[in-house]
């Protein structure tokens, strides 16, 4: 298992479209992906789960992956969050 923490830096946090981008990226990996915010952990490949995290700008997320490409997955997803979700709407 690989995990890492990352802070949500984009202004409006994990809104519907950014969650969509995250899920699409997570779906590229075989590893299972989980995202924790506060006491809640959700499947990182579930857009509804991510939306339900209600994570705002400044929120600390813990991204955890389990599977053959877990390191790549965590690295890519942390980069995505840090990079404001690939500058998409």
């Amino acid at each position: 298992m690989t995990q890492s923490e990352v802070v949500v830096v984009n202004e409006s946090g994990l809104h519907v479209r950014t969650c969509g981008v995250f899920v699409r990226e997570a779906g590229r990996f075989k590893a299972e992906v989980f995202v924790r915010h506060g006491d809640t952990e959700v499947n990182g490949k579930s857009i509804l789960g991510l939306i339900g995290l209600a994570a705002e700008n400044g929120a600390m997320l813990r991204i955890r992956a389990d599977g053959p490409d877990e390191e790549d997955a965590v690295r890519a997803l942390v980069k995505l969050v840090e990079g404001r979700f690939g500058n998409m709407p």
């Binding site: 830096v9 984009n10 202004e11 409006s12 946090g13 809104h15 519907v16 479209r17 950014t18 969650c19 969509g20 899920v23 699409r24 959700v42 499947n43 490949k45 579930s46 857009i47 509804l48 789960g49 939306i51 339900g52 209600a54 705002e56 700008n57 404001r84 979700f85 690939g86 500058n87 998409m88 709407p89």
Partner: protein, 602 residues
Amino acid sequence: MNGPTRTRPPESQPGEGPLRLTGIGASPGLAVGPVVVLASEEFAVREFPIEPARVEEEVAYFERALESSRRDLEQIRNGIAAELGETEAAIYDAHLMILDDPELRRAVEEGIRQHRRNAGIVFRDYLSAIAARLERVEDEYLRERRADVLDVERRVLRYLVGGGQRGVAGITGPAVVVAHDIGPSDVALLPREHVLALVTEVGGRTSHSTIVARGRGIPAVVGVRGAAQSVRRGDLAIVDGERGTVDLRPDEAAVARARTRRARLEAEADELRELVALPAVTLDGRRVELAANIEFPSDVEHAASVGADGIGLYRTEFFYLDRASLPSEEEQYRAYRSVAERLAPRPVIFRTMDLGGDKVASYLGTTHETNPFLGYRGIRFALHHPEVFRAQIRAIYRASASGNVRLMFPMISDLEELRRATALCHEVAGELDRTGVAYDHNLQIGMMVETPSAVWVADHLARESAFFSVGSNDLTQYTLAMDRDNERLAHLYQPLHPAVLRSIRRTVECAQAAGRWAGVCGEMAGDPLTAVLLVGLGVDELSVSCYDLPRVKAAIRAVRWSEARTLADRVLSLGSAEMVEQALRSWGEERLPAVAHPRTRT
């Protein structure tokens, strides 16, 4: 936020006497007609046990509901993409992903197979739990997310439990549609031939639904608190999408006034429509380029439909504000290209990012300042973020291969600033040349004139700028040293102040001396009489809102350039804004009685 302004005491019951509600005028137009309330869809989701033998059937039933919802969403998505562009359609891609959510499918299947509960109830419980988590916080972004989740929930429930299309399809006659909230997909489905206006309790000027309403030309007032509770089906309503008012159950006199006003607006619109294909040319042959100011890619159709000669100000801040993250070069390129293509061969002037001041994008590190309008904004901000700026310039350059594209910098106050910004453009051009990417090698690079310092060095600037466009709103505020957001100074906001008019004249003269053209793209150009004055001052181009454009064109076509010049010379000799206004008004009453009366929209 303030509640609705009531003309009757608050204890007045719904369905009684006249009541005025106020909200945000989000899409212009005046409508009088009967109300149709789109009740929030209440699906009677009943719970019932699923017999073991029917489990697979129920799972298949759920799958079919998702499949039907997907077809609807794809159709809406493609419709929005065609009507308004890919940017506005992107939200539906996320909605489609919700239908594919693995946890949702797992939870519903588990509910059916293991707990023997019906699909409708399991599905609704699952989405309601997520919506409830988003409800706890009073935050605009969270409410938007909740609205998206509920939009998808309703869509699927329509198939799971029936209950139909929430009346959208049931609108078969003239209707003022009133709803607590309406999803953009529902606005897209409203029958345009019947819907007179739209009134919602939630929403803002930039929410998705509002943008769609504007794009479809449906007058709309949003953010009207208590609207749905205050009306009954069949009540008469007067909706003013310009002022943001909704008059319910108006008395006969008010209805008569509104009908007269609308008839006048329509008659005027008919007259003005005849001018759409005609040029903005004075009686003695002075041709003025009359362009439109726009903000959203979807405004392009409107600009074309009112007969604009082009886009004189495309405010690109839209790409940076009200969103979570920086727009990519690619996203901007696609939007700019579609605008350029749709307008070609007419020109489109893209004003590069004018952030800072009152336009704060916190993900770019803009912060609130003591003196924002004298602060870190416009070109100053852009030059401090060369990578962000470069991406935008590249997008504009690339789009120039597909139409008649011009580029303009905001807030230039110094020659060195213009040179640095222009140098960045040349770097971009060099990169594109090296990588073989097409762009228009004759792309005009111009600048806005909005600061007194730019006016005073306009002779130098004109040698290195392809054109000037006077931003009269900021030029007025900076020249008169008055904050235009300070309500107590509102009376000092005087674009007709001789200091402003002389600044414009000087700007035009400097442009002419260098063989450049000069335009005005601020609010003042949208007033027909003032527009005539500006033509008299020698401006070559005016860029105004789509709403004002037809009347401005009519005024220009009704005067001679020679008399406009005489008028300009005369008012320039006057000492105060009051004197200029007086002179302009009396000239207008004599020469242009049709436009001299105050704007019909005020």
